[in-house]
Amino acid sequence: MNKPLRRIAIFCGLLVLSLLIRDNWLQYVKADTLREDPHNRRVLIARYATPRGDIIVGGNPITGHTETTSGDFKFKRTYKDGAMWAPVTGFVSQAYGANQLESVQDGILSGTDDRLFFRNTLDMITGKEKEGGNVVTTLNAAAQKAAYEGLKNQGGKGAVAAIEPSTGKILALASFPSYDPSTIAGGSTSDEEAWKKLQKKNNPDDPMLNRALREVYPPGSTFKVVTAAAALENGLYKTADEKTDSPLPWTMPGTVTPLKNEGDIPCKNATLRVSLQWSCNSVFGKIGYDLGNDEMLEQAKKFGFTTEQFTPVRTTASVFSEDMAPSEVALSSIGQFNTATTPLQMAMVTSAIANNGTLMKPYMVDELQTHNFDALEKTEPEELSKPMSAENAQILQSMMETVVQDGTGKKAQIEGVKVGGKTGTAQHGVDNSENPYAWFISYAKLSDDSSPVAVAVVVEDENAVRDDISGGGLAAPIAKSVMEAVIDSKK
C-alpha cells in the first residue's frame, strides 16, 4: 500500500503547490492592478484617511475638514461660503468623487502627489500624521463676494469672471444659482438626497453648472469689441474717429433683410467710436462682412476663442464658426448666429485690450504648498497671445471709455477711475422668444495707467420685463462693484 501512499503524498503536495502559485499570481503579479482598481474601496478609504489640504484665498482657507464618526471614511470636506466659492473649488464628495479644482489638484490636496513624497517620508519618519498640501488661489475674496452678491441680488441666472489683465490671475469666478458643496461632501443618505436635488434633471436651474467657465452664451454686442479689434488690426480703419463706410439701412448680402439697430441711433457712416458708443449693429455687421470669415475667425482665435483654457480647471471652448455665408459672418460679428462664449472668454478679451494688446493666460492657482506652507510650485504669468498691437489696443480703450462716459455703459462709472466697457444684449431662443442675456464687459484703469481688473458679467433674468434687459441696466452695476472691490483691496 505504500506506493500509492507516496503518490498521494505527492498529490497533496501538488495541491498546496498550486495554491502557492495562485497566491503568488494574486499577491505579487496582480497585486498592483487589484490594489489600484478604482472599484476597490480601499482606494477611496486611503483618499479620505488623511485630512485634505485646503484651498486658500488671500491667506484664508475657504475649505476645511471634519472627522466623521460613521462609515469607513475618516475625514470629510467642509466649505466656508460654499455656494459663493463653488465655481472655484468644485466639490469633493465621499460618494460622488470630485470635480474642478478639487479634482485637478487632487494629488496635492490628498497628499498623494509625487512632489509631496519627500515631505510625506519625513512626516512618516518623525511620526506625524500624513496631511494633504494646500492650493493657494489667485482669487480676490472681496471681488468674489461682490460678484456673487451682485448676481444673488439680481436673482436671475448669471455668471461673473474677473481677471487681472497684466498677469492673467483670475480674481473672481461666480455663478448663480450655486450650491454648497458641503451638503454633498459626505456619504450619508442626506448627502445622497442633496446630490439628487442638485442634478439637472431634478433641478432645471442646474446649480452645479459652473457658468463662468463651462457655459457658453451668445455674447451679443460685447463681441463688437472683437470686431473693432479686427477692423483696426487688419487696417480696415486706422483710427477711432474716421468715418466708416456704413450705409443705413444695410441689407446683408445674399439676403433681403436689413441688419437692424436697436432704436433710432446715429449709425450711418458713423465712426468706430460712435458706433461702439451706440452699439451700431449695421456698422459692425458690415465690418465683419468686409473682413470676411477668415479674418474674423483669426482675430477671435487670437483672443482665445475655439480653444479650451486650462485655468487649470478646463473651460468650454468659445465658438466662432468657419465656412459661414456672408450674412452669417455679419451676424456672427455682432455676437449673434453661432457665436457663443464663456464669461471667462469675454473677460480675457477685455483683459487683453486693457493690457495694451497682450493676452495673458488666465490662471487661478498661484501656488502649491505642503501642509506647512512650504512652496512646492509657483505659477508664473504666461503670455498666451498678442491679439492687438499696443497702439490699436489704446485706440480701442479710448472707444470703450467713451461707452462708459457717454454711451450705454454709464452705470459702470467709478469716481476717480478710468473705466472702459461695453454692454451687450444677446437675443436667444427661436425667433428671440426667450429672455435675452444682459452682458457687460469692462476694465478699470488707475491713475498710473495700470489696469488692476477686467471683468465680464452675464445675467439672464426670466422675471424681468424684456425691454428692461440691457447690459447697461442689469450687468453693469455688478461689474462696477467687482471693479471697486478689486481697486479697494489694492489700496
Binding site: P4, L5, F11
Partner: protein
C-alpha cells in the same frame, strides 16, 4: 545464526523502529512557539487598532497556553509516541485564527451587520470544546482498530449527518445558496464537518475488506484495469451521493471533498490507477452536469469566471432570482491590496467582504494583513499537517490505520485546497471553512477530533513493537551450534 559470528544489529530502515524516541519534548518546545506567536499577533492587532496592548492579552495567552498544555499532557500520557508536529501546528493555526477573528470583531462595519462582536470569545470556547474532544479521542480510543468494528454504523451515521441539513425545519439557509447548516436553538451546526471523519472510518473499514476484490478482479482495456461491473457498485453509490449533495445542498465543496476522499482511499486500497481516472472523469461529468442546470452552482461558476461582473450585478442590485454577491471580487481585492508583505495586523480592510468575512473568507484577512509571505507560511503549515498525516499512514502497520490516516489527511488537504482555492479564485467558491482558522464551532471541534485520530494512529505506528513472543521453534533451531 550465531550472535558471535553476526553481531546484533538493529534494522532501522523500517519506519517506527524499535527504540524510536518519543519526541514529546520536541512537541513541547514547538508548542511554546505555537502559543507565543499568536500572543504577539494579538498584541499587534490591539496596538494597530486601539494604540494599546489589548486588555485581554494575558487571559488570552493563558487560555491558549492552558489549552495547548492540557493537550500536550494528554498526548504525553495517552499517546506518548505520537507525531510531534501535529499538535503544535494545529495549535498555531487555531491561535492565529482566534487573533484574526478578534481583529474582525473590532470592525464597526461587521458589527453593524451582525458578523462580528464577541466571536473570538465564542471561538475560544469552541476551541476548548475541540481540545476536550481531542483529549477524549486519545483517552477513549486506545486503539484505532476499534473503529473497524463500526464500519457500517459509520456509514449510516455519515449519511444521517449529511442529510440533516435537508430536513425541513432543521436546515438553515444562512449563506448564499449552500444548504449545509442545521439550526439547533441558537446554534448553527455544519454536520458535514463531522461526517467527513465518520465517512473516512466507513470507507477505511469497507475498503479494507473489499480491496482484494476491487483490485484483482478486473479486465485490462487500453492499458487500464477496468473493474467488474458489480465492483463498480460502491463507487457509483458514493458518486451518486455526492451528486445529490451537490444538487440538494448546492455545495460544490462538500461534494468534491467526499468524492475526492473516497477516490483517494480507493486508490490506496487497490493500487489501481484506473480508479483515479474513473474518479476524475465522474467528478468532472457530475460537476459540469450539475453546474449547467443548478442555478446556485451556476452562479458560483460565473462568479469564479468573472468576479467583476458579479460585483457589478450585486452593486446594481439586479433582481433575477439569484443572489449576486460581491464577496469573490472583494476577496481578490483584499489579497491584492495585501501585496507581498501585507498591511500588518489590524490595518487592512477585509471587512469589506462583509458576510462570512471571519469564516469562509478568513484567509483573505490573512492575505491582506500578512501578505503573500503570511499566506505562503500558512499554506505550508497546512501542507505540513497533511504530509505528517500521510507519513502516519505510511508508518501505520495495519491497513485499516493506513486507509483511515490517508483518508483523513487527504480530506483535510482537499478541504484546504477547495476553500483556499475558492477564496483566491483558483476554483469556484464553496461554502466550507478553513480548518482551524475560520470562525465556526463545528469546524474547529471536528478538526480537533481529526487531529486526535491522526495522533492516535501515529502513536500506534511509532510505538515500539512489542518484543516477539519467544517461539519454541526458534529455541530449537538455536540449539544446533558447533561444539
Amino acid at each position: 545464526m550465531s550472535s558471535t559470528t553476526n553481531p546484533p544489529t538493529h534494522h532501522t530502515s523500517t519506519i517506527g523502529a524499535i527504540g524510536a524516541p518519543s519526541r514529546r519534548n520536541t512537541e513541547l518546545a514547538l508548542l511554546v512557539f505555537a502559543v507565543v506567536i499568536p500572543v504577539f499577533a494579538y498584541a499587534n492587532v490591539g496596538l494597530a487598532i486601539n494604540d494599546e496592548v489589548p486588555a485581554g492579552l494575558l487571559s488570552y495567552g493563558i487560555g491558549l497556553g492552558l489549552l495547548a498544555g492540557i493537550g500536550h499532557l494528554a498526548v504525553r500520557k495517552f499517546a506518548p509516541y505520537a507525531d510531534p508536529l501535529l499538535l503544535p501546528l494545529a495549535t498555531l493555526l487555531n491561535g492565529l485564527g482566534l487573533v484574526a477573528i478578534w481583529r474582525l470583531d473590532q470592525s464597526k462595519l461587521l458589527q453593524q451587520i451582525g458578523q462580528a462582536g464577541g466571536k473570538a470569545t465564542n471561538q475560544l470556547i469552541y476551541t476548548a470544546m475541540g481540545i476536550a474532544l481531542f483529549i477524549a479521542v486519545l483517552v477513549f480510543l486506545k486503539d484505532h482498530r476499534t473503529l473497524q468494528r463500526y464500519t457500517y454504523i459509520s456509514m449510516a451515521g455519515a449519511l444521517f449527518l449529511l442529510l440533516l441539513p435537508l430536513v425541513p425545519g432543521l436546515g438553515a439557509d444562512i449563506t448564499y445558496g449552500a444548504k449545509i447548516w442545521i439550526q439547533v436553538g441558537s446554534f448553527t451546526i455544519q454536520p458535514g464537518e463531522f461526517a467527513k471523519i465518520v465517512l473516512a472510518v466507513f470507507f477505511a473499514g469497507y475498503l479494507m475488506v473489499k480491496r482484494d476484490a476491487l483490485a484483482l478482479a478486473s479486465r485490462r482495456f487500453m492499458g487500464l484495469y477496468l473493474p467488474r461491473g458489480r465492483d463498480l457498485g460502491p463507487i457509483i453509490v458514493v458518486w451518486m451521493i455526492s451528486i445529490l449533495i451537490l444538487v440538494f445542498e448546492t455545495d460544490l465543496g462538500t461534494s468534491l471533498l467526499f468524492f475526492g476522499m473516497f477516490v483517494i482511499m480507493l486508490y490506496v486500497a487497490t493500487e489501481r490507477t484506473s480508479w483515479i481516472v474513473f474518479g476524475l472523469l465522474m467528478s468532472a461529468a457530475g460537476a459540469v452536469g450539475v453546474a449547467s442546470f443548478e442555478p446556485h452552482v451556476k452562479t458560483r461558476v460565473q462568479a469564479w469566471l468573472d468576479p467583476m461582473r458579479e460585483y457589478t450585478l450585486s452593486r446594481e442590485g439586479v433582481q433575477d432570482g439569484i443572489v449576486h454577491s460581491e464577496q469573490a471580487m472583494q476577496a481578490l481585492w483584499a489579497f491584492g491590496s495585501g501585496g507581498t508583505l501585507g498591511t500588518g495586523w489590524g490595518q487592512g480592510h477585509s471587512e469589506l467582504i462583509r458576510f462570512a468575512a471571519n469564516s469562509d473568507f478568513i484567509l483573505a484577512t490573512f492575505g491582506e494583513e500578512l501578505g503573500l509571505a503570511g499566506i505562503m507560511a500558512i499554506l505550508l503549515i497546512y501542507g505540513l499537517i497533511v504530509e505528517r498525516g500521510v507519513r502516519t499512514a505510511l508508518a501505520a502497520r495495519d491497513p485499516f490505520g493506513k486507509l483511515l490516516a490517508v483518508g483523513l489527511s487527504g480530506a483535510f488537504a482537499l478541504q484546504v485546497f477547495v476553500v483556499a482555492g475558492g477564496v483566491m479564485g483558483l476554483i469556484p467558491l464553496t461554502g466550507m471553512t478553513m480548518p482551524f482558522l475560520a470562525y465556526g464551532g463545528s469546524s474547529v471541534i471536528a478538526n480537533w477530533a481529526l487531529i486526535g485520530v491522526l495522533i492516535r494512529i501515529s502513536d500506534t505506528a511509532r510505538r515500539p513493537a512489542p518484543a516477539p513472543a519467544p517461539s519454541p521453534d526458534a529455541e530449537m533451531t538455536q540449539v544446533v551450534r558447533p561444539s
